[in-house]
Each structure stands twice: as C-alpha cells, then as structure tokens.
Amino acid sequence: MRPGERLTDEELASAATEGSEAHFNLLVDRHAQLVYRLALGITGSTQDAEDVVQETFLRVLQNLDRFSPAKASFRTWLLTIARNQSINAYSSLKRRASRFFSRSRSEEQDHYADDNSSDPVQQDAETMLLQKQEYFLVEQASKDLPERQRTSLHLKAVENLRYAEIAQIMNTSESSVESLIFRARQTLLEKLRE
C-alpha cells in the first residue's frame, strides 16, 4: 500500500496544498475515472473527455488553496470543476464540429461490440445484439438531452449521488435537480417508445 492511501480526499488535498506531489497523484488515481465518465457523459467524445480530465486536474492543482472542506466535499468540488470544463469543451464550436464528423453511427455500435466481446460472461449472439442496440438507443437519446438534464441524470443514475450533492455541483436547488431528472426521464421514455 502506498503511503497516504488510507487518507481521506480532504486530507490528501490538504497535504497536496503543502506541496506534496505524491498525495496529489493519489487524488488523480482515485478520481480520474469519475471525472472521465462525467466528461464523456457531457461531451459525448472520448477525445474531449480525455482533455477535460487533464484540464480539470490542472485547475484543481492551481486552486487547491481555495478548496474549503467546510463548504463541500473534495468530490463535489472536483465534479463542479469537471462539469465546468466539460461545458467549455462541449460548447466549443470547433470541438462540436469534430465530434459530429469523428464518430459515425457504425463506429459507435462497434464500440459497444468491443465492450461486450471483453465480457467474460458467455452470452448468445441474439442477446448480445439486443443489449448492444439497447445501450446504443439509451446513449443516443441521452446525448440529445439539454446539458443540465443530461448531467443531473448521469450523476444520479450512473454515479448514484444524492440530490443534495448534485445540487451543489450544479449550483442549483435540490428541487431543481429533482425536476431536471424527472424531465430527462420523461424525454428518454418518449424517445425510446418511438
């Protein structure tokens, strides 16, 4: 076990503020995947999501002295920065264009095929195909949601955060989060019915 692995995020952040690179690296190891999933959920592009991961942790490093555990947990603070970075990446016209042209529908479906092929559980071809189509439909429908609905639904359904934490990350109220998630679900159910 590496030194510092038993420390909480907040303790690691405190040590990193004092200049410990090793403690900061532990924070990167712990949360890079979480940031990547959120960035991918918002931007819909693996390349953008990778850039967001890098930019997010650089921002965290630059602003560590501003982090206050009394106001929010480290995870909440990190996801707030990650969301802002993802929105910046998503709203960039250049990146939007490259995202549109870079991944065709068939490539997306291949991506799911690759994921399933690495699944150790034996599945027959028909079930795999149905599941692949289901994943594809859900992800496509999610991509068309407005950013706030998509992000709040992702943070709830994928990351299983509480409404209160999502509200902090999105700088809004819990009732707004509840409403965003409900509207997102309604839209998805309508689209999937079509």
Binding site: L61, N116, Y135, V158, Y163, E178
Partner: protein, 148 residues
Amino acid sequence: MECHGYQRLISRLVDGELEASLAHELNDHLAGCPACGQIYQRMLELNRGLGSVPSPALKPALAERVKERIADRRRAIEEKEGMRLWVRVPLMAMVAFLALGLGELAGKSIHEIIASDRGEEALEAISPDQTESFADVLIHLGSQENSR
C-alpha cells in the same frame, strides 16, 4: 394528486429520494393505477439501462499523462521563481555598474556627485543679491515711504 404528480414521485422513488410518508401514498396509487404502474416499471428499466451502459474505461496511460503534466507544471512554476531571482540579481548589478560608469564619465565618482556643493553654487548664480532678503527689501521700501 393527479397521475402527473405521482409520476414525479415515481422518479424520486426510483432515485431512492422519496420520504416514507409519500412512498406509502404512492404505493396506494400504484396499486390502483395500471398506467402509473407501467411508468414505474419503465423508469426502473431505464435507470438500470443508464447504469449499465458501458463507459469506455479511462486509459491507464491518461492518468500517468495527467501526473506528468502536473509535474511539468510544478517544475515550470519553480523554474519561473528561480529565473526571477537570477534575472533580478544581474539587473541590479547592471544598474550599479551603469551608475558608476556615468559618474566616471562625468569626471567625478558617485561619492563626489552626491557630496558636492554644486547645488549651492547654482543658487548663488541665480540669486542677484545675497545681502538682502525679499522681506528686507519690503521693509526698506516701507520705511522710505514713511519718511516721505
């Protein structure tokens, strides 16, 4: 409450964020409303689907790249701080040498320039009369007027 209101509660129930009292009321409604019961099942399925959509795993190399970039950034900041010191010292030395050089060119050392009485000489040159001050002149003029 109408079905739309109950459907909002269904969404909260699926999220595990519905208070016990409201959950009880919702269950009573679901028992007698097949349409809302269907919505509940579909929301559960959707949630399962969203949770199980495979997210491409972050490449391990990316986490390493992030760490490398952070180390680079730290080094850049440290080098910048170091550079500031290295720039400041020769700059101060250059200013001092320049001052000494100019002094020598003028034929005097810095000490001679600072300690010289050239200022007093200049004052004497522009002052026409060192014996009387302006007040002495006014008093003198006033006494002449009085005697008249």
